[in-house]
Amino acid sequence: MRWLGLGLAAVLALGLALVLGPTPVPWAALGSSDIVRELRLPRALLAFLVGGGLGLAGAALQALVRNPLADPFLLGLSGGAGLGAVLAIATHLSGPWTLPLAAFAGALAAMALVYRLGLAGGAELDPRALILGGVAVGAFAGAVTTAIVSLASAVELRNALLWLWGGFSGSSWDGVLVVCLYFPVPLVVLLAAARPLDLLALGEEPARYLGADVARVRRRVYVAASLLTAAAVAVSGVIGFVGLIVPHAMRALWGHQHRVLLPAAFLGGGILLTLADTVARVVVAPRELPVGIVTALVGVPVFALLMRRWTAS
């Protein structure tokens, strides 16, 4: 029943995204309209996939570092992505895919660095070291980015930051294709880690006694969640909030079992981001709002309601 509800909500969100837009498209022409086929449909799908990826990555990372504040960008990825994008522009690389690829490379570099820092204590990934390392790497990358922007001061750099704040204005079928080819592996890895994550929630020692290979689970989950996030940054910039709030909301609705929670977080994130992007496109038309603002404006009240229910029970 709950799955049916979530599925219906997803279909509804995608449908609204196709029907609504800054320019009215008559019902009869929906199927044949270029605007719907080439602009709205890829945009809606991309928003859904990215939202889902962020929601899932957030749920997995929160379990991994056992910290409710964890979100996909806590571990330095946004800083690395921003630095990559700004470096590409400052060194005059150009081409239609430069910015996404550079942001992806930057996020991966940050991930590798944080991973190395996370191994500080020895051969095992230490969650506390991961968080601290992530914050440190993020701050460092942010400082270098700001230095480049303030020294080079080209218009393109400021516009690159605008892109980095996130949005789906540039969505195309190419982007959807890239995500569809890329997402399955980290998605499957994360979904397969559902049971070990349940055990890990009991604590490191109990998890070990119950037969979980804690070190391996941590490595896999961290790398898979980071890869998902890096791809999300590459196609849509840094969209905050989805990966933080959606997992908590889904936990309130569905409980703590990761086998249920992880797919629910994927669907929930997709629904939230698709709806938010539709609002961003429509509400101040012909202009457009940054989608991150809408996710916060739409998501916070919903989250507050859920929190009340949650604390009341």
């Binding site: 837009g21 800054p22 320019t23 270029d34 605007i35 080439e38 602009l39 709205r40 890829p42 150009s94 081409g95 239609p96 910015l99 001061s153 218009v155 400021r158 516009n159 605008l162 892109w163 949005g167 204005s169 540039g170 969505s171 195309s172 079928w173 190419d174 496109r281 038309a285 012909p286 202009r287 457009e288 940054p290």
Partner: protein, 311 residues
Amino acid sequence: MALAHRARRRLPISAPTGVGFFAMRRSAHRTHLAGLLALLAACGGGERGATTRAPLPPARRIVSLSPAVTELLYALGAGDRVVGRTTWCDYPPAVRAVPSVGDGLSPNLEAIVARRPDLVVLYRSALNETAAQRLRALGLATAVLPQDRLEDLAAAARVLGRLTGRSAAGDSIAQSLAALVAAPAPDLGVRLAFIVWDNPPMVIGGASYLDQLATLAGARNVFHDLGTSSAVVSIETIAARDPDVLVTLVDSGAPRLPAFAARREWQALRAVRERRLVMLTGSLFGRPSPRAAAAVAELRRQLEGGEGATR
């Protein structure tokens, strides 16, 4: 690209046209020196402000913090008195020999003071108003001039003419700019959009100088109704407004096709599919300047050429 545009977009909220126009009209009315001096005195504060010398001697060492002002000063014949410029000042070429004092956006006070100017001219923006206050506190004369539209530039020409003792030249530049504004070229029937950035797509709205250029060249900006100088819109909106021509600004060098022209999602635009793209150099087109007449003529030539090529 335009300092004006850049500076304006840095503000969190762009002023709606109405407000901008109002302020501009008001400042146009008090372009005489007395008004400016009163302003200086009012802001200078205390004893210093009270020592208003009646006929101010012409400024001899001027730091210009905007490319448009730099061009104006050279056009007035006061180019040899420019002792400081911004990194964006690239016209006339002689100005490159003048030391730069930074990018002029959040002015580097120390660099400005080190040039020992007797007049600092700033573009009017919130950041620059604060900087001007501090410069005045340091005992430097400042002029803060709006430079968003050609009308602003005409007013600025008069003010700078008086401040440099070249009122006649200033008035003549102002008159030729006013004449240009008063007589737009006959309508070409071309509807265009200025694309200043592709992801997120950013277009030029009605408050911008480029919008004015388009009108003067006999074309219409399809985003004229947007009250700000620039705005983020969706590709869908651009496609729905269906401009005949897309105009982009290039910094310098050989005009290159913009990268977005090759991207799939942009093919939803007729102007992209038909490759009706016009590239303009930022130095001439990105800011209101005394060369506006040349900019208008060049834009019109390119638009007419584009028309011919597709027929």
